[in-house]
Amino acid sequence: MTTPILSAEQLSATTLLRFATAGSVDDGKSTLVGRLLHDSKSILTDQLEAVEQASLNRGQEAPDLALLTDGLRAEREQGITIDVAYRYFATARRRFILADTPGHVQYTRNMVTGASTAELAVVLVDARNGVVEQTRRHAAVAALLRVPHVVLAVNKMDLVDYAEPVFAAIAEEFTAYAASLGVPEITAIPISALAGDNVVEPSAHMDWYGGPTVLEHLETVPVSHDLTACHARFPVQYVIRPQSAEHPDYRGYAGQIAAGVFRVGEAVSVLPSGRTTTIAGIDAFGDSVDIAWAPQSVTIRLADDIDISRGDLIAPADDSPAITRDVEATVCHVADQPLSVGQRVLLKHTTRTVKAIVKDIPSRLTLDDLSQHPAPGQLVANDIGRVVVRTAEPLALDAYADSRRTGSFLLIDPADGTTLSAGMAGASFAAVAEAAAGSAADDAEWDF
């Protein structure tokens, strides 16, 4: 439960959860977000007064909480959300960064953006409508981006008389679909965002539901995974060489640990050269430590003086990624200009940017029903498709399924620097979608 005023001790002992919300205005997403912010006391008096005044000015009687997140003039004028808005709130247990993604405009691009850094996604459905095309699209984006935890919030339960069978049927249908796409953990919660049931406070109308409220779940879902099960990865960002009287020979490799754990004394490979050495020391902002883990920013010193620069990757000697110049991936196209077969691009992977060429676009995927369209020739804004890219230099690339951080990349237009596409190396979904495989099974190109 929320506490209005937190002590300094409580505040500094909390962890951080990044999550994204998906749903259209009609599903009550703004109401849910507004209630989470309001009931956790994150909307302050002057913000509320500004929203009330703005709502009055446009002739609305009740304050329109969407005005809190629609920060741009064009958004307020048109009554739509154009861009991802980041919101911040806190409870006694946790700090939250919420990527609030719009339901209509540039929908896929924005949800992919919000989901890329999210550890949890909240998908809203209207209890009266159940799982619709858009819900399946939300589930597919969460699965594609490998968001570890998905919450299905079945909203407007008050409009279906808080009936358990309605909730159970929707939860079962969604869970089966999302699980078939490889979503590892799905939590379904019956709510009424408007009435406040099961958002922050437990509902008095749904005795049959024994699970957590939305906020309780957000507060308790595990944010740290068992890092020892991950492939340790350290992209080198910057070489630190003070060359000062105090530190004449210091040479450290600065970076943020992308995955896993590194220890002093560990045997490591430096990629793509493949040279091996051991970790002589790990410095965390001036202090020496024996062990460091993702996502800490540290500086690693190595036992041997080998040639290492920005863009190289340090990995355990016995667990290095494959080195490749041929990248097969799923991309979400995010630019207004298209991506075409034969196009020359830049590929930005971790701290390394290389020249590349789009060799093939084997298929385009429709997220609504997972149907796929072979050889589209090009991808346009908000398309999801498979691409084959050849790079000018080798990359130490993981499958996105194994490592979100070292399996992801951007395609960039070398002419004007536009971010064209967001790429995820390897297979699209963790499991083949049984539901959709029926109609597409006879297609030899099927690889989603």
């Binding site: 008096t45 808005a85 740290s224 960002q237 920013s297």
Partner: protein, 311 residues
């Protein structure tokens, strides 16, 4: 998903990070990305708490080497003397190089005209833009946070600006994972916001945890102030109070530090960091709502200033 083996319930996870550690690591990563990809970065340093935290993070990011950036301050001519003194002391202490762009010089040279309301905040944009062009800075670190204001909530960590420093919110690049795209044409630059994801409270907790020194005006002190539009402004050479405004001595502190003509003090008896943190956690007003006259002008005041090249 094989890599998402969660730690069993009831056991202590040895690899946890506090929210401050997470935010610190993210900010340090951003500083190092810029150092790795840009030729001439600069940190906007005003002596305000957000820029002080930025500098502290930069010092940590490159230790034991010095910070590979210079500093830039846009001096409105109406800055608090305590803050300017802090600025100069800090620059000297860390052996940094400071560029100063002076609004007063622009006014004296007739290139900028004083506004009727006396606020110099919007006047900073031209000296800032010209300093960026003159020194050919290609990355400009700012201490803006997304929780400050609703237009800032839509800002990217890497925000592309044209040769006039203009911000076009509809042409922003989507920002995915931790992959920041800093490509820009000659003459363009990128504004970089390493503490985008920090809240006001995070900044204060971090200052406390790290033992960072601040200008004394952030703590409660007696000051001669006068009321203008519901804000306590400092009486001084910048042009206040007017005839009908009367001054009084009050116990106040500053939640934000900017131009004296539009930055208000708040009533406070918080003389220590602990007291400040407790006060902010209990406050029902945002820092800008409580202390910035220029954001009260219209619903889109910040968006309009940002589009023109403001911080």
């Amino acid at each position: 998903m094989s890599t998402v083996a969660t730690v069993p319930e009831g056991t202590v996870n040895p690899y946890a990070l506090s929210h401050l550690d997470s935010l610190e690591s993210e900010a340090v990563h951003i500083f190092r990305e810029v150092a790795g990809e840009f030729e001439r970065p600069v940190i906007l340093f005003s002596g305000g708490k957000d820029s002080i935290v930025m500098l502290h993070l930069a010092l940590k990011a490159f230790a034991p080497a010095p910070v590979p950036f210079t500093l830039l301050h846009v001096d409105t001519g109406h800055n608090f003397p305590e803050v300017l003194e802090y600025r100069d002391r800090t620059v000297k202490k860390h052996g940094l190089r400071l560029h100063v762009a002076s609004v007063q010089e622009y006014i004296d040279a007739g290139k900028l005209r004083e506004r009727p309301d006396g606020t110099r905040n919007p006047l900073q944009t031209v000296p800032l833009t010209e300093a960026i062009q003159q020194h050919r800075f290609d990355a400009v670190f700012g201490g803006g946070r997304r929780d400050e204001e609703k237009a800032r909530a839509k800002e990217r960590v890497f925000s592309l600006r044209d040769e006039f420093s203009q911000w076009d919110p509809r042409r922003q690049r989507p920002e995915l994972w931790q992959l920041y795209n800093g490509r820009h044409a000659p003459g363009e630059h990128v504004r970089v916001f390493p503490i985008s994801n920090w809240t006001e409270l995070d900044v204060w907790q971090y200052i406390e945890r790290e033992g960072i020194e601040l200008p004394e005006i952030y703590f409660a002190h007696e000051r001669e102030v006068f009321d203008r539009n519901g804000m306590w402004l400092t009486a001084g050479h910048w042009g206040g109070p007017k005839e009908h405004e009367s001054t009084e001595t009050r116990l106040v502190r500053y939640r934000t530090v900017g131009d004296m003509s539009c930055t208000g003090a708040v009533d406070s008896d918080a003389t220590t960091l602990d007291a400040v943190i407790t006060e902010i956690a209990a406050s029902r007003l945002t820092e800008r709502g409580a202390t910035r006259a220029d954001d009260k002008m219209s619903e889109a005041a910040m968006e309009d200033r940002k589009r023109e090249g403001y911080f």
